[in-house]
C-alpha cells in the first residue's frame, strides 16, 4: 500500500517592518478604496458646499 506524503508549505518568519515594506511596495500607486472615493464624489455632488 502506497502512502501519499504531502509536504506542507514552509513558513518563513519576516520582521514586521519588512512585511509592511512589502505591503507598501505592493500597494504603491494603487487606489485602495475606489468605491469610497466614488461614494465621496457622489456625496459631494449632492451637497451644498457653501458653508465649507
Amino acid at each position: 500500500m502506497k502512502i501519499k506524503v504531502t509536504k506542507s508549505k514552509e513558513l518563513v518568519k519576516v520582521p514586521e517592518s519588512g512585511l509592511l515594506s512589502l505591503v507598501a511596495s505592493k500597494l504603491k500607486d494603487r487606489t485602495l478604496f475606489p468605491q469610497k472615493v466614488e461614494d465621496a464624489k457622489k456625496y459631494l455632488q449632492k451637497a451644498k458646499l457653501s458653508s465649507l
Binding site: 514586521e16 517592518s17 512585511l19 509592511l20 515594506s21 505591503v23 507598501a24 505592493k26 500597494l27 504603491k28 500607486d29 487606489t31 485602495l32 478604496f33 468605491q35 469610497k36 472615493v37 461614494d39 465621496a40 464624489k41 456625496y43 459631494l44 449632492k46 451637497a47 451644498k48 458646499l49 458653508s51 465649507l52
Partner: protein, 187 residues
C-alpha cells in the same frame, strides 16, 4: 489626536497622489491594516481628501473596508487610525479631510438585513456605526480638538440632498469634515 497612547507602530508612505499608512493589528490574529487619504475633488482652491481604512489580505492581494474583524483590539486600532490625522495635516496643511463610514452607503441597510442577526425593527443599528464612532470621539474631545481643527457635519435629508453645517456636538451626522485652523500671530 497627536497625543494618543496605545497605538500600533505605523509605516507611512507618501506619493504624488495620496498618503498611505500601514500597520499590523495584533489581536486574536495578525491582520495588516491599511489607511489611505485619497484626493476627491477641489473646492475653492482647497483639495478634499477622503479617509479610507480597511484590511489587506496579503495572499489574495485584496482590500476590504466592510468587514468586522472582531480582533479584540478595536480601541487600539481606532486610536491608531486617529493618530494619522495630524500627519495628514502636516502633509496637506490647507486642505480638507472628509470622513464617512463604509456602512453609511444608501444600499447598506438592504445588504445588512440579509445576514444580520440583530433583527432591528425601525432603524438598522449597524447603519452609520463607523461614523458614529468617529463622531463619538469628536464629541467627547470637542473642546480640545477645536483649538487646532474646524469641524463640519454633513446630513442627508429625506430627499437625499446633503447639508453641510458647522459641527454641533451630539448631533447625528453621516459625514464629518475637518480642516486645520490657521493662526496668524503678529508681534
Amino acid at each position: 489626536m497627536s497625543n494618543l497612547k496605545n497605538i500600533y507602530e505605523l509605516q507611512e508612505n507618501k506619493s504624488e497622489h495620496d498618503l498611505k499608512f500601514f500597520f499590523i493589528s495584533k489581536g486574536k490574529q495578525d491582520i495588516v491594516k491599511v489607511i489611505q487619504y485619497s484626493f476627491v475633488q477641489e473646492l475653492n482652491g482647497k483639495s478634499i481628501y477622503n479617509l479610507g481604512f480597511g484590511d489587506y489580505d496579503l495572499i489574495d492581494d485584496t482590500i476590504s473596508d466592510n468587514t468586522n474583524t472582531n480582533n479584540g483590539d478595536g480601541y487600539k486600532v481606532f486610536n491608531t487610525v486617529l493618530s494619522t490625522i495630524p500627519s495628514f495635516f502636516k502633509n496637506y496643511s490647507s486642505d480638507i479631510l472628509m470622513v464617512q463610514g463604509s456602512d453609511g452607503r444608501p444600499e447598506f441597510i438592504k445588504h445588512c438585513k440579509l445576514t444580520c442577526r440583530k433583527q432591528c425593527k425601525d432603524e438598522c443599528k449597524n447603519y452609520n456605526r463607523r461614523i458614529n464612532i468617529y463622531r463619538g470621539y469628536v464629541d467627547k474631545n470637542y473642546k480640545e480638538l477645536s483649538i487646532d481643527y474646524q469641524f463640519f457635519g454633513g446630513i442627508r435629508d429625506l430627499g437625499q440632498k446633503i447639508s453641510i453645517e458647522p459641527y454641533e456636538q451630539h448631533k447625528k451626522y453621516d459625514s464629518v469634515f475637518l480642516f486645520k485652523k490657521v493662526y496668524n500671530f503678529t508681534v
